[in-house]
Amino acid sequence: MTFARETWIVFNRAMRLGFREPVWLFIALSQPILYLALFGPLLEKVVQSTPDLPPGDAWQVFVPGLLVQLGLFGTVFVGFGLVAEYRAGVIERMRVTPASRAALLLGRVLRDVVVLVVQATLLTLVSIPFGLRAPVGGVVVALVLVAALGAAFSALSYAAALVLKTEDALASVLNSLAVPVLLLSGILLPMTLAPQWLRTVSDVNPLKHVVDAVRALFQGDVTASSTGWGVVSAVGLVVVGLYLGTRTFRRESA
């Protein structure tokens, strides 16, 4: 109960600070539309001329990819805000209160997840006039997977921020993590095009399984084995992310 209350306080504070930044809010909401408008027109031709694409029409393949990409890039850089808060002494000030360290992390992660879910829903809705057709149930489950992914990367980003404590170090670490994970996920180009060794590498990338699952769900294929692997990967990522995040927030800093 106390934990929920503390999480709520931290969540509210992060939300309020977000709304105070009109630029942040504008970018957060316009980004999904920008993705569609600038990327959408390329889709149909690419799909027609690419062999071995996953089943489904162009939008059922690429909107899930965009959603997962949003889940990754919408959350993986949130640590920068935490570096600023750390430098301002806010983290120490909160750590000297009796509040749970996990709540200090989770409140912030939840803010990021809520923003992500709003963005992802917007992206999905805006895709409909472009030509997306997908079953509602599958889309809802897919959005839950994307939210879980976002929670994991947000927590990992905060953990990295608290360990590294400078923007420069954080930028290089996060980029060197996010870019390969994205490339090996099959979001940009399907991994079916890849040589065997690259395919094997991408098989251990949890993001790839989440992408496959979201694509299957957009075709209403809830029982597909890829859906199962996607759920397992997303849950695994959340557990690892929150564990590492909480451990870092709990650890006494030097």
């Binding site: 503390e6 306080i9 504070r13 600070l17 808060e85 301002a88 120490e92 000030r93 000297v96 209160t97």
Partner: protein, 318 residues
């Protein structure tokens, strides 16, 4: 209020272990204002961070505000306030809202938090700044907001780390008043400073820290008494009479070896003001004319110099 034994912290760095704090014993009673005085890097902040549960000691034990530091850190956190050195407010956040959230993290209800916050803003001369962003506050106002944030839960014990560093003289004097008023409101205050005048003006008791150890402790007066008394500085009209004057000064009860520098003769005696009349008479009888005379009470800088062989002022900023 604080009872620490053998508190130590060693940091592991790439160049090997660094003993930041090497075994500190300290006792602070309720209602005291106690200060850590020492140069940058002496281990003051590290000790403070251990006492406030932010850093785990590598050795030693402590009871803070009635709770064991290691076994019940949450119990300690509930009862102490901590105002960190570098400030604690986010520039884009609003002052009043930061205070409310901080209070609520201590488990205080919304209405109580607002009432407490308004009261603190009044007490700390922050009226009218509730809805202002922290970035728009002056340095002194921001520091007072930091203190308000550390006091939201009415702690019995308040830790202030370098409370006035970076403030202009007027804001410093103003902040000292607020620190004194904390005690009047029943709190115990533990602060660190590398300003001698601050320790002198605020503290009932001073712990002098150097290289991770407490090298001396006592009231400002007691510490100053450890130094060989007051300095009596005589400025002569005639350089040729300096040796004679030095001989006379050196013969005073309890005097040390006088130093002569041109027309200036300096001697330390246990009590300068009562020694002076006799000294002046003796000088007059020998026909040694004076251009000026000064009795200087020892400062905490003299204390530090005596204890460590270094001047506090010589320390380069960290």
């Amino acid at each position: 209020m604080i009872e620490a034994r053998g508190l130590a912290r060693t940091f592991t760095t790439r160049t090997g272990p660094v003993e930041a704090v090497r075994g500190v014993d300290l006792d602070v009673d309720a209602g005291e204002i106690v200060g850590f005085l020492g140069p940058n890097g002496a281990g003051k902040t590290t000790t403070l961070r251990m006492l406030t549960t932010l850093l785990r000691p590598t050795a030693g034990t402590a009871t803070v505000a009635g709770h064991d530091l290691l076994k019940d850190p949450v119990g300690v956190r509930r009862r102490i306030g901590y105002v960190a050195q570098g400030g604690t407010s986010l520039p884009q956040a609003r002052a009043g809202e930061e205070l409310l959230d901080q209070a609520r993290l201590y488990g205080i209800g919304k209405a109580d938090a607002a009432a407490r916050g308004r009261e603190l803003f009044g007490r700390l001369d922050l009226e009218g700044l509730w809805d202002r962003s922290c970035a728009s506050l002056s340095g002194g106002q921001r520091r007072r907001l930091d203190i308000a944030l550390g006091l939201v839960h009415a702690p019995q014990l308040v830790f202030l780390d370098e409370p006035t560093t970076g403030l202009d003289p007027q804001s410093r004097a103003n902040l000292w008043e607020h620190v004194r008023s904390l005690r009047e409101n029943g709190a115990t205050v533990f602060l660190t400073t590398h300003y001698l005048d601050e320790a002198d003006a605020l503290c009932d008791r001073i712990l002098v820290m150097d290289h991770g150890l407490i090298v001396a402790s006592g009231t400002p007066l007691e510490l100053k008494r450890q130094v060989s008394g007051d300095a009596v500085a005589l400025t002569l009209k005639d350089v040729a009479r300096a040796p004679d004057a030095a001989t006379l000064a050196g013969a005073l009860a309890g005097a040390d070896q006088p130093t002569v520098d041109g027309t200036l003769v300096v001697v330390h005696v246990p009590d300068g003001s009562s020694t002076l009349p006799a000294l002046l008479r003796d000088l007059d009888a020998k026909g040694i004319e004076l251009a000026g005379v000064e009795v200087r009470r020892p400062t905490l800088d003299d204390v530090f110099l005596t204890l460590t062989g270094r001047s506090l002022r010589d320390e380069p900023a960290a």
